[in-house]
């Protein structure tokens, strides 16, 4: 019998693209062919450089003098992981008058010594009058590399109450305190960065994406951009990435957790009785899809080394997730699994067999609880709303159901189901 799928066979039919596109691409190819080998596909290098150029200046920027700015440029790139930010400005006498480097999210400015203006490096002055403090993901590795490349070790890497750090004097005499600050310190300084065990991305799995689009637009004011498939949407304007995905029989919220090292986390998943695919490199980081030992699907995410995903600080905003309840069949198994994989710790909650998840004594972000005794695993979100009375009205108008708002110690909540059977809560949290 002939396979009916053979009817799909489609030979290539040439199509002329937009002539402007054709001309632009030809110009790009001509440029690419002129570039040195290996430069064409360097999308990542180009983005890194561009990200260095695009960095906004913070309120305070160090501007240092060194006795050999050219060498210093190379050295900071190789030893401390700096990225070049634009071309140096070279003076008539061949000294570098100004050059910039990006370190993580910050800029360092630098120039050769200009003795005639009183600008001298530490060596000429007989020592530094200031230190430069640098936060890095891998403090041990950075200090080791710096010392191998000629830095002097002033204080070896050690754990302090305020974090792990070491001190080096670089070959130009500058003193660097290289530190991996604890996440609490980072939290206080800026918007919190993703920690291992935080939720990096969530996706609402629904039977019909169009209906969900309309329902949540009405209830929460969500705006959308198309996803890469007809049945997916990205929710726009939220401070943490969130999507909608249609075609799902069992409504839930799919969670993607941040981890420090995805390959190690994948091993932990398997050791804990779950399954995990091999990690794959995506433009935004390394991803591995997993299933826990009770059948819940989730993913693990390792962000690129120099990326700092911030996850929104301060008061909640309308339509954002403010709490997640992970309903599971057996809470003891789930606690053991997520404890092993994500480093979560648990404190008993108010509800029976309810558990609050924590990382190093702090709430998981989003704030997350486990609840046992359910037929199958489901993640139930709570969305923050400014005015719960009217939000409950909107749920009912849009075809969903909602309990009357109920005052809890932490705010006013309503227990809702959308028009396709997805369970969620609304919370006007105090």
């Amino acid at each position: 019998m002939i396979d009916p799928f053979e009817a799909l066979r489609e030979p290539v039919v040439p199509v002329d693209p937009d002539p402007r596109f054709a001309a632009r691409l030809r110009a790009r190819l001509e440029r690419a062919l002129l570039e040195p080998e290996g430069a064409t596909m360097t999308t990542t290098t180009q983005t890194t450089d561009q990200s260095a150029v695009d960095l906004p200046l913070h309120s305070l920027t160090p501007y240092i003098a060194v006795d050999d700015a050219r060498q210093a440029l190379d050295w900071y790139v190789r030893a401390l992981g700096a990225r070049r930010r634009g071309e140096p400005i070279v003076m008539d006498d061949d000294r570098i008058g100004h050059v910039e480097l990006a370190f993580g999210d910050s800029v360092l400015m630098m120039a050769d010594e200009f003795a005639e203006m009183g600008l001298l490096g530490p060596k000429a002055r007989g020592g530094v009058s200031q230190s430069l403090r640098l936060e890095v993901p891998d403090v041990d590795g950075t200090v080791r590399r710096a010392v191998e490349l000629g830095a002097e070790l002033e204080r070896p890497v050690t754990d302090y109450p305020y974090g792990r750090s070491g001190v080096i004097i670089d070959p130009f005499g500058h003193r660097w305190m290289v530190a991996a600050a604890p996440s609490t310190a980072a939290t206080e300084r800026t918007a919190p960065a993703l920690r291992q065990g935080d939720v990096a991305y969530s996706s609402l799995w629904v039977p019909d994406v169009e209906r969900a689009v309309a329902f949540y637009r009405t209830v929460l004011g969500w705006r959308y951009v198309p996803g890469s498939e007809p049945r997916s949407r990205h929710v726009e304007g939220l401070r943490r990435s969130m999507g909608l995905y249609g075609g799902e029989g069992h409504p839930t919220t799919f969670l993607c957790f941040a981890v420090d090292e995805v390959s190690a986390a994948v091993e932990r998943v398997r050791a804990a009785g779950g399954t995990a695919e091999e990690p794959s490199q995506e433009p935004w980081g390394l991803i591995a899809e997993c299933t826990d030992d009770q059948g819940m699907r989730f993913a693990l995410f390792e962000q690129p080394a120099n990326a700092t995903s911030e996850i929104g600080d301060g008061p909640y905003r309308q339509g954002e997730i403010c709490y997640l309840t992970i309903e599971v069949p057996d809470s003891a198994r789930a606690r053991a699994f997520f404890g092993a994989v994500l480093g979560w710790e648990f404190t008993p909650g108010q509800a029976e067999d309810g558990w609050g998840a924590q990382i190093g004594g702090e709430e998981v972000r989003y704030m997350t609880g486990l609840h046992g005794g359910h037929e199958r695993s489901t993640v139930v979100p709570m969305y923050f709303v400014d005015d719960i009375e009217s939000a409950v009205e909107r749920v009912r108008t849009a075809g969903g159901t909602a309990t009357d708002p109920d005052r809890q110690p932490y705010g006013i909540t309503a227990d809702c189901v959308d028009d396709q059977g997805s369970h969620f809560y609304l919370g006007q949290l105090s």
């Binding site: 009916p4 693209p17 054709a22 080998e37 596909m41 890469s228 899809e289």
Partner: protein, 172 residues
């Protein structure tokens, strides 16, 4: 660069010479398979930029339109892999009957419509196997899966396709 490199003929002009003839083929291939102009343009650009890198390899590949369409196919498979991850679209179609023959003539237009609505992994395997007519082993190589896993995926994809097709047929 050593003298040997200088002796090597520069493949750049040959690629540019091929460009005008190959562009509509590559673009036409990608447009018909992904159905979106902007995406087809992006993947076309990726294809030719990848070709620039490839022609510098030693020995350079035999440059032809068919070779460029092959590069485009890789780029398309990469794209689907990316979207598959992005959408977390991996679900199994439950209750398959793999050996149940489906004796029907497909309405090509309807079939294309159904195909675009499938998840990226199903779409990828069906496109490579049937639209492009590749043998399963080559499909497997493009998708970075084993032949066995590709066969399984193909069965699931056909089941998903068939389900969607029949639903659509019923509704229209």
């Amino acid at each position: 660069m050593g003298p040997r490199a200088e002796l090597r003929p520069d493949p750049g002009p040959a690629l540019l010479e091929l460009y005008d003839a190959a562009l509509p083929e590559v673009y036409g291939y990608l447009l018909s398979r992904c159905g979106q102009r902007s995406l087809a343009e992006d993947l076309t650009a990726e294809t030719f930029l990848a070709a620039v890198e490839a022609v510098r390899k030693s020995p350079p590949p035999a440059m032809s339109t068919a070779w460029l369409v092959g590069v485009a196919r890789h780029k398309l498979a990469d794209h689907w892999r990316r979207s598959e991850r992005e959408e977390r679209g991996l679900r199994l179609i439950g209750d398959q009957r793999p050996d149940d023959p489906w004796d029907e003539r497909l309405d090509a237009l309807l079939a294309r419509e159904v195909l675009t609505a499938l998840g990226p992994h199903h779409r990828a395997v069906l496109t490579l196997r049937y639209l492009d007519g590749l043998p399963v082993s080559e499909v497997a190589a493009h998708l970075g899966r084993t032949v066995h896993a590709t066969e399984t995926l193909l069965v699931r994809a056909k089941a998903a396709f068939r389900q969607a097709y029949q639903r659509k047929e019923g509704s229209s």
